[in-house]
Amino acid sequence: MSTAIDIQNLSKIYFIKEAGGKKEFTALDRLNLRIPHGKVLGLIGQNGAGKSTLLKILSRITYPSAGTVEISGRLASLLEVGTGFHPELSGRENVFLNGAILGMQRREIAARFDEIVDFAGIQKFIDTPVKHYSSGMYVRLAFSVAAHLSSDILLVDEVLAVGDAEFQRKCLGKMDEATKVGGRTVVFVSHNLRAVRDLCDEVVWLEEGRIKQKGSARSVCNAYLASLKSRAKHVPLREREDREGLGRTTFHKLWWQTPNRDLLISGAPATLCAQYESKHAEPLTNLSLRLNIYSSEGAFLTSLSNENSGFNLERAKGNGTLKCTLEKLPLLKGSYSLTVNLYANGELQDRVRQALLFEVEEGDFFGSGQVKQRKNEGIEIPQVWASEQNQQAT
């Protein structure tokens, strides 16, 4: 197979200005990678591992400090959806504007215009200025333009983190279709390991600007997950350094409390406790805590949110513990991980992925006395069954 992207000895060093002078930061360190035509390559790794820098160099937004990249084929990159959208212009005008910025010719956009609008599902509002759109509509239209780009090589960065779940699935489907039918080369950066595994042929795991592991999607994702888990197991939450956010308030400890010697049982009561500490004297206001629960394969299952359940956290100062009680734990037997997200006034304060790992034991969620073993991790939903038989005239 011919080579679409050939990366040789690629390095990128950033100079960060500090009070005492300049500090060097090596984002990429003599990277070598060859991506054949038609392959879908996933890039995974922690924040700061160099994934985004690599995509930026490939999309020519920034230039390397050393090394070369050779690209053969028409390249389109999607580092953000809706680049260049203008609020005063209508949806129709923005499709043409955005398409042009992404490198499409007028006739290409015109030929796909109906398809783009259909895909976004906003036919009725296509001639309305986008400033009147809801954020969901805006993102759908923006993504739709991008999804219909005609290029041989597509670079995608986390854009799938936007939009509602249904639309995300649609986008993944579209990308999948593009690679299978169109024979496109795709480089895909994401924290969503499930999506990476479903879409990619091959995965590269970056760590500190170098390739830590490269191979089939399944094996690399599993190795990466295992390393995340071992970190979660061996490094206490308060000492974790792979945090995002402003950090004025951070979480130091997460644990489950149950009446059964802290054993988590499906259908039994359980309380999740989150201990926080504030460095700042100023209290934080308008808090939103989101605890996202993922399966062991990294698929998002549900989240515990004070906001959605109507519990207002007006302010937090100093230290304390937040508790969220589930009367019946709705998780199937299996292993789960939890990501903690704290926002204050819409600003991210603290985010730790895989902050807590836990196991759930078999239990009788429905109180039916019948527990059938199930293989996958997942969620139980309270349900009522009925059977109605049609009366047949004899």
Binding site: S65, A66, G67, A100, I101, L102
Partner: protein
């Protein structure tokens, strides 16, 4: 079959040839950028397109009162209104392109940080947007010339005058744009600088007036201002006013500014995403 494109990314960044080749292929992008600017400019305005007429007219009224009525600066043998308007429409175009292209890298940073596109298309799109206002002003000017029964045979001069003026405006604009990535101060200076330059440029008065202030052996200094020579040439062709022997200095300055502007702009483009 279409040949598939090939790109080599190196630490050196884009060469001048690459930048030029990509600019030539960016026709649709240019069209869209121009359309966006025009549409946004008139969105939610009551007068809309009429504003393009309003600007040269008010400008003309102001210089008429200030320079003609109050200061009494009458160019010899030429009606003042067409004389002043010829300078004003070119000056307005100049200051628009200068101000817009100087701000282009900073205004478009969100886009520059997220997407690769031929960045020379940004100042070029401003040149095209400005041409609309210039066209309106030009129509007004031709009307005035006909009204005063002046010959239109000198209109050929617009071709060299426009080329030189745009080279100077876009060149200086790109140079300032490149500098302002590091030093935002430049953005503060531009309106002030443009205003000073307006008074130093023979827009509302004849070139000979400026010449009478300077000593004989320092006359050429005045033409370091690109617009001085350009307007001198313009008035020579349109109204048969005297042509200074030094006017070509301005043309040299204009095209040197363009070359300098393009080189520094392309260099800045390379570092931009890391710096802004």
């Amino acid at each position: 079959m279409k040949q598939s494109p090939y790109i080599k990314i190196t630490p050196r960044g884009n060469s001048l040839q690459t930048a030029w080749r990509e600019l030539l292929r960016s026709g649709h992008l240019l069209r869209v950028l121009v359309y966006r600017d025009l549409k946004v400019r008139y969105a939610q305005t009551y007068l809309g397109f009429l504003w393009s007429l309003f600007q040269p007219l008010t400008g003309l009224a102001v210089v008429f009162v200030l320079f003609y009525k109050l200061a009494g600066l009458q160019p010899e043998g030429v009606p003042y209104l067409p004389f002043a308007l010829s300078g004003l429409i070119l000056w307005n175009y100049f200051s628009y392109v200068l101000a817009q292209s100087a701000a282009v890298l900073i205004n478009m940073q969100a886009m520059i940080k997220k997407i690769y596109f031929p960045k020379l298309s940004l100042p070029l799109s401003k040149v095209l947007v400005g041409s609309i206002d210039f066209g309106v002003g030009l129509a007004l000017f031709v009307g005035l010339m006909l009204f005063y029964k002046l010959p239109l045979s000198g209109m050929w001069v617009l071709v060299p005058a426009l080329l030189a003026m745009l080279a100077a405006a876009a060149g200086l604009g790109m140079l300032l744009s490149a500098i302002s990535i590091r030093y935002r101060d430049v953005q503060q200076l531009i309106p002030f600088f443009t205003q000073m330059l307006f008074f130093l440029t023979p827009v509302a008065y004849a070139t000979s007036l400026a010449g009478s202030v300077l000593p004989a052996n320092g006359q050429w200094l005045y033409f370091l201002n690109p617009m001085a020579g350009i307007l001198n040439l313009l008035r020579y062709a349109l109204f048969d006013l005297p042509l200074s022997p030094y006017f070509s200095i301005s043309l040299w300055v204009s095209f040197s500014l363009l070359a300098l502007g393009i080189v520094s702009y392309i260099r800045a483009e390379k570092k931009m995403a890391d710096l802004i």
